[in-house]
């Protein structure tokens, strides 16, 4: 048996199929992951993401620490509540994790990191915090749970279920959060749809989940979460990037901010790097499902699929693949799918967002 979130019994009561995810017992689906996927694109769905790690970074040294720790630039976070997405890099430029940093005022930040990398992240962050001793506290918050409510109706249904949350969250713009007790309500997500991520005390999670259910939000599992994020062109850590590749070869150059002379970990390696590969989208032209680790044959050389699945919004298969840097969108490639060559076209993600196909 793995670790369980405060919502584990809620999932069991809903008939969820439970699977291991990075040591956590998590819901894969509650019957049909495709129906859950459509519910998020068309209406509203909710995901238990309490396995993800909230970390408080507090103190007078917090900003300087984060300016060194991550590749995006927290100096851009000026208004309280603003957030940004970033990679945390090794000195060699490899991706330790991807995360979101929220800014709640001078010296007060919160990071949300992946479940599978949580221990590694905390060890790395503690080591990087050593020069800031006395000016900084890095504190994991395992006392908090997290529910992502996503879809065109998501915000309205959150306000219906939690009327008191409306005043603080109505004016939030994308990538902005409002504190809510020890937690927060953030207009962020991982689906390509509008919505909120609710960070709440673990003890309140089940009641909030129930209130959202009663408001008509459909529970959705990690299966739908994966197809939604893939359609939205969002990377999954451990599949699309890890410590062996840089963000420049992972479709994440836009998250690396080198606009000022800031000495973040990994910068020297990125400055010296000449990317030989790129992460690009594939749209299957034949029947069949593209899956991770399949070999891609392009006119510019071979590559490999990092994430592939059936895309419910498109009714066919899509993938992210790491290919030679010369490959261009619009070109056709072949993929070795279980011994057969399947035709696919190179496209620029996202594949679908806000309920609509984009390729």
């Amino acid at each position: 048996m793995g670790k369980q979130t405060p919502l584990y019994e809620s999932h069991r009561a809903l008939g969820a199929r439970i699977v291991d995810f990075s040591g956590w017992d998590m819901p894969l689906h509650y019957g049909s992951q495709i129906e859950e996927h459509h519910a998020v694109r068309r209406h509203a769905g909710m995901f238990d993401v309490s396995h993800m790690l909230n970390v408080d970074v507090i103190g007078s040294g917090a900003r300087e620490y984060l300016e060194r720790l991550i590749a995006n630039d927290v100096a851009k976070l000026k208004a309280p509540g603003r957030a940004l997405y970033s990679c945390m890099l090794t000195p060699e430029g490899g991706v330790i994790d991807d995360l979101i940093v929220y800014f709640f005022g001078e010296g007060r930040y919160r990071l949300v990191a992946n479940a599978g990398t949580a221990d590694k992240d905390l060890a790395w962050m503690a080591r990087q915090a050593q020069p800031f001793a006395g000016r900084l506290e890095v504190g994991p918050r395992r006392d908090l749970a997290m529910i992502a409510v996503q879809g065109p109706q998501a915000r309205g249904l959150v306000w219906q279920a939690l009327p008191a949350s409306r005043a603080s969250s109505e004016a939030l713009i994308p990538f902005q959060a409002a504190p809510r007790g020890e937690g927060m309500i953030a207009r962020t997500g991982y689906t390509g749809e509008d919505g909120f991520e609710l960070v709440v005390p673990a003890g309140e999670a089940a009641a909030i989940w129930r209130a959202l259910l009663e408001a008509g939000v459909r529970p959705a599992g990690l299966g739908a979460r994966d197809t939604l994020r893939l359609e939205a062109g969002m990377n999954l850590y451990g599949q699309d990037m890890d410590e062996n590749v840089t963000p420049l070869e992972s479709g994440l150059a836009w998250t690396v901010d080198r606009s000022r002379p800031r000495d973040f970990t990994g910068r020297a390696a990125l400055d010296a790097a000449v990317p030989q590969r790129q992460l690009i989208g594939l749209l299957a032209l034949d029947k069949g499902v593209l899956r991770s680790h399949q070999t891609v044959y392009s006119a510019h050389g071979e590559g490999q699929i990092t994430s592939g699945s059936f895309a419910p919004t498109l009714g066919r298969s899509i993938a992210l693949a790491r290919l030679p840097a010369g490959a261009r969108t619009g070109e056709e490639v072949e993929v070795d799918v279980r011994g057969k060559r399947l035709a696919a076209r190179l496209v620029r993600p996202p594949f679908a967002r806000h309920g609509k196909a984009l390729v």
């Binding site: 199929r17 049909s32 992951q33 495709i34 299966g223 029947k287 069949g288 499902v289 699945s309 059936f310």
Partner: protein, 129 residues
């Protein structure tokens, strides 16, 4: 686990029904469709193909995984459920109605070597524990 008494089964989760004309209708079990999750593509054999017992002759592909389907007995494929390829989710909805293909077996007596419902239930339950 829905395992009809009147069918025969394989350890690889196919169900087999003996028809009045001596052909065998083949599909995947309720347990199999549940393990696979949402089914999105079916790749079925050509009618007329000769198959050996245990030979891969179809693919059921779900969002999660691709699964090979094996011929339960040696024989000739005499029919395929082509309409199901346009609605693969039918296999999730009613796996015992949404058949995949029919075989005329070389030796109908070999049916006796397949699992009955009780034996299949035992095999499926011990596999999932």
């Amino acid at each position: 686990m829905n395992i009809p008494e009147n069918l025969r089964y394989t350890a690889t989760h196919e169900w087999v029904r003996l028809e009045a004309d001596g052909t065998l209708t083949v599909g995947i079990t309720d347990h199999a469709q549940e393990l696979l999750g949402d089914i999105v593509f079916l790749e079925l054999p050509e009618a007329g193909r000769r198959v050996a017992a245990g030979e891969e002759c179809a693919v059921v592909e779900s969002v999660k995984a691709a699964s090979d389907i094996y011929a339960p007995l040696a024989g000739e494929v005499v029919a395929v459920n082509t309409p199901a390829t346009d609605d693969p989710a039918a296999v999730n909805r009613d796996p015992y109605a949404a058949w995949l293909f029919r075989i005329r077996p070389d030796d109908a007596g070999a049916m006796a070597g397949l699992l009955d419902a009780a034996a299949y239930r035992h095999a499926a339950e011990s596999e999932s524990h």
